[in-house]
Amino acid sequence: MPPWSDFEPFIVSGLALGGVYALSGVGLVVLYRATGVLYLAFGAVGAMGALIAWSLGRAGAPGWVTWLACIAVAALITLGYGALFGPALSKRDPLVKAVATIGLTLILYGLMDLLWTTSGGAVRSLTLPTDNGGFSIGQIQVDWTQVIALAAGVVITVGTGAFLRYTKLGTAMRAMANDREITATLGVPVRKVEAAAWLGCGALAGIAGLLLADLVALDATTLTFLVISTLAAVLIARLRSITVTFVAAIVVGLLHDLLTPITSLTNYRDMTPFVLAAVALLVMPRRQVMAQSREEA
């Protein structure tokens, strides 16, 4: 077991990673509750936004323009997908809706690999100006990006919680999570509420893509499939509670990074989200046993 001081830097990076997972997880849960779609393209749209931001930066656009572009691209792709395929698939099984987003993932992934090719070993990086500044707690260096990542996780979780509880749109989303048909009958503009959920989730995907491109790597494959780690947190929360999602995401991020200095486990640290999710599913109550009848697989 390495000394405690070896772990200290990884607490900070773990919390930062956990913060991004948390805001991603909250986006996924809110969209799932409002529309019944588990958005597996979350990572891919974020990656698309980040790569476009990188290209804009290379073309000489100022930093804030590229960041906004990243978020806007992710939000618009997500909204577009929701507007096109949301209504067409609205009556289908959640499984079908989730698999359909795999279609979007593949399209975006193919496009990214085509436009920002990595063959020939091209390496890109996206650095935010907040990487340079920072402060230290004892021996640990903390940069502002890490602070922003964790803060964004907290703010988004609390903000979304308040939004769902206190605003009219949030109430409508919660109503739709309960029963779409009845909500529509009560005069809630279902399509508009869904569009808001898609847009919000897409914007969060953009923010997550931007932060992860800086914290982890700007690489289409990595960013696209980092969503799997977020999915673990969402699974632990059973696609329901945003509070549990937040806690699970922080635990996933923290545990993942804290395993790094332990030599016997460091190669296996990427398994953290999977192992945590599997354990969580094992202890899941049997209430959810009965599957709904479905039209098609």
Binding site: G103, L106, G110, L114, A232, A277, S293
Partner: protein, 354 residues
């Protein structure tokens, strides 16, 4: 009630053995003979290797198709299962001198045991959770494989020796050491797996799966042990994929963990859906999409990324308009085209899809 439901079906099916079925059997026989004897003669070595891969992956897509089309379960981790099969087979092939078919069966059974262990808890959950847990599982296997590596003739449990200079190839059966012979061997193994699935579909498990797919509560009410039959399907799919892994090990000779990335599981599901999950032809179409098309495009110098985009569009199209996939749609479209060509335009042509 339950007995009438279950026993009434086969009698009716048997009575319907008629001309179309005979024609279909004849077509299948001719196609198989062509594949086994003519194809290795006319293809270059490049395409023979490609077609061996098609045979291997047709088993994997068959397994995925059984899960998705017959039972309504979706696995997002089938490449990991394939990797387990390949790993076990390679380990056994290096360690023992057992005949190849025996090793294929063993690889299938061990993979099946692993699949059942994963499926056991997940099958009690709803479909979406099963899909996600298989995705998690695929991710975890990828991580483990990257560290453990595939056996390369070393010793110990992992059979991996990082300091080996001359890595021995995974052996092939003595009767099929050349590439064309191994292609035939792979096709025959694939045929046996298709027959295994056919035997399931035509009998009790197939009817239970059909009931579960329609409505799980109704199947439960009809006295079907839904959990058992879902697990059965999962075990069968794992077995077939494990056998495919064993065939793959001999086909490529050298196995690397980098060849089994998590994203391939997702692409595989996409092509399986595109090929069509309600017919066994779909599995063949899917394997051609997955292995033959990239080889063809590679030969033409076109980026494989276009295919990924195509697969993505294909999934969306299948899920929104044509749930039975290409295996169902292409014959319909061809028939429609044929009618148009024959000038039978007196009546408006019926819709090509649904």
């Amino acid at each position: 009630m339950r007995d009438t439901l279950i026993r009434a079906t086969p009698r009716r099916v048997r009575q319907e053995t008629s001309r179309p079925q005979l024609i279909r059997a004849a077509v299948v026989t001719v196609l198989l003979l062509f594949t086994l004897f003519a194809l290795p003669q006319i293809l270059s070595l490049y395409y023979i290797d490609t077609m061996t891969q098609v045979a291997v992956y047709s088993m994997v897509t068959l397994a995925l198709g059984v899960l998705a089309g017959r039972v309504g379960l979706v696995s997002l981790g089938q490449v990991a299962v394939l990797a387990i099969g390949a790993w076990v087979a390679a380990r056994l092939l290096f360690e023992t001198t057992q005949p190849y078919p025996l090793i294929l069966v063993e690889a299938g059974l061990i993979t099946m045991a692993a699949g059942v262990l994963i499926g056991l808890p997940a099958l009690r959950l709803r479909g979406l959770y099963l899909a996600l847990i298989t995705l998690m599982f695929a991710g975890a296997i990828t991580v483990v494989l990257a560290t453990v590596n595939f056996p390369n003739g070393g010793h110990g449990f992992t059979g991996y020796n990082g300091s080996l200079v001359h890595i021995p190839p995974v052996r092939r059966p003595s009767i099929a050491s050349s590439d064309p012979a191994y292609f035939r061997y792979s096709v025959i193994v694939a045929i046996l797996m298709f027959l295994l699935v056919l035997a399931h579909i035509k009998t009790r498990p197939g009817r239970a799966w059909a009931a579960i797919r329609q409505s799980e509560p109704a199947a439960l009410a009809a006295g079907i042990n839904t959990w058992l039959y879902k697990l059965w399907a999962f075990a069968l799919a794992s077995f077939i994929t494990g056998v495919a892994g064993g065939v793959l090990a001999g086909a490529v000779h050298y196995l690397y963990s980098i060849d089994f990335p998590t994203q391939d599981s997702i692409t595989l599901l996409a092509v399986t859906l595109m090929g069509g999950v309600y017919s066994m032809w779909g599995a063949v179409v899917a394997a051609l999409l997955y292995q033959f098309l990239p080889a063809l495009l590679n030969n033409w110098g076109v980026s494989a990324d276009w295919l990924i985009i195509l697969f993505g569009l294909g999934v969306l199209q299948v899920l929104t308009t044509a749930p039975a996939g290409l295996a169902d749609q292409v014959p319909k479209d061809l028939a429609r085209l044929g009618r148009l060509l024959r000038g039978r335009l007196r009546r408006p042509a019926p819709g090509s899809t649904e």
